[in-house]
């Protein structure tokens, strides 16, 4: 109770302001990512191939198919049980990645 008196109004204000800034930063972050140049496909920790994103093409792997179209990368088919990688949104910026865990395939934009 005595401690509550130690809290001044400005204290609460500054804490709230900082929390709002944190939230704003959190939502603004995805916009910071720079456009990617190449796609690196890794399977089982080994690099299978590197492809430029600005050229449309289809890459067929064992149980997955990768489609590069319009500057974006998507996993078009995958025969893994839950198909999470298929449902992932198209990636196009540096650092973004789509991972197919069962097949140990990683699509990463660099």
């Amino acid at each position: 109770m005595i401690l509550l008196k130690a809290i001044k109004k400005t204290d609460i204000v500054i804490a709230a302001v900082i929390i709002i800034v944190a939230a704003a930063t959190f939502f603004a972050l995805p916009a910071l990512r720079q456009a990617g140049k190449t796609l690196v496909i890794t399977q089982n920790n080994q690099i299978i191939g590197t492809y430029r994103i600005d050229k449309d093409r289809t890459v067929k792997l064992d149980g997955n198919t990768v489609v590069i179209k319009g500057g974006k990368v998507k996993m078009s088919t995958a025969d893994c049980p839950r198909g999470i990688c298929r449902h992932h949104a198209a990636i196009s910026r540096k650092g973004e990645s789509i991972i197919c865990l069962p097949h140990k395939v990683i699509l990463e934009v660099k």
Binding site: I2, L3, A6, I7, T10, D11, I18, A22, A23
Partner: protein, 170 residues
């Protein structure tokens, strides 16, 4: 105040801060995000700032960063820790001078700017803008830990003996 008393007081406060740093080092929260701390060691600096003993606070801050980094961390971390503590002190100094913030507000500002400055230092050193993805977490953790330490500090600061010990100039 006599010089010997000043020295003894400073040494006692510095030792206190280092013990807090040791306790903190026992429970690293680094798994949440790099650089997340409770900021316990800063409580001594916070109390000194609120007691308006600004020079002592600055000196304790500087010494505890250097010593605790050598004791509980590695040399590479020194740059980050120093920049964090430096900015935190500047902000706490002005926050205290302006008199609009209570001890909790000062602690929150200190914690937040400590984290923010460390992040900025990391960006300058490794030049990878990916570090800013940690900004939201660090800001929130700065508020939380700042508030907690501020509450502890408020409780301690109320004690008249502590105020005498710190030679508070309120």
């Amino acid at each position: 105040m006599k010089n010997t008393r000043k020295t003894a007081l400073f040494a006692a406060l510095l030792a206190c801060s280092l013990v807090f740093a040791f306790v903190e080092a026992l429970f690293p929260l680094d798994f949440i995000a790099p650089g997340i701390k409770l900021g316990l060691a800063n409580s001594v600096v916070l109390l000194l700032v609120c007691a308006k003993r600004y020079k002592t606070a600055a000196f304790v801050n500087l010494c505890r960063i250097i010593i605790s980094t050598f004791l509980f961390s590695n040399l590479m971390g020194l740059i980050y820790a120093l920049s964090g503590a430096f900015f935190a002190y500047i902000v706490m100094f002005f926050a205290s001078k302006t008199r609009i913030f209570g001890i909790i507000g000062i602690s929150v500002l200190g914690g937040v700017f400590h984290n923010a400055a460390q992040l900025l230092a990391a960006y300058i050193i490794i030049e990878n803008s990916g570090v800013f993805f940690y900004l939201p977490v660090l800001l929130i953790s700065g508020v939380v830990s700042g508030a907690l330490i501020g509450l502890c500090g408020a409780a301690i600061f109320k004690n008249k003996n502590i105020q005498k010990f710190l030679n508070a100039n309120t």
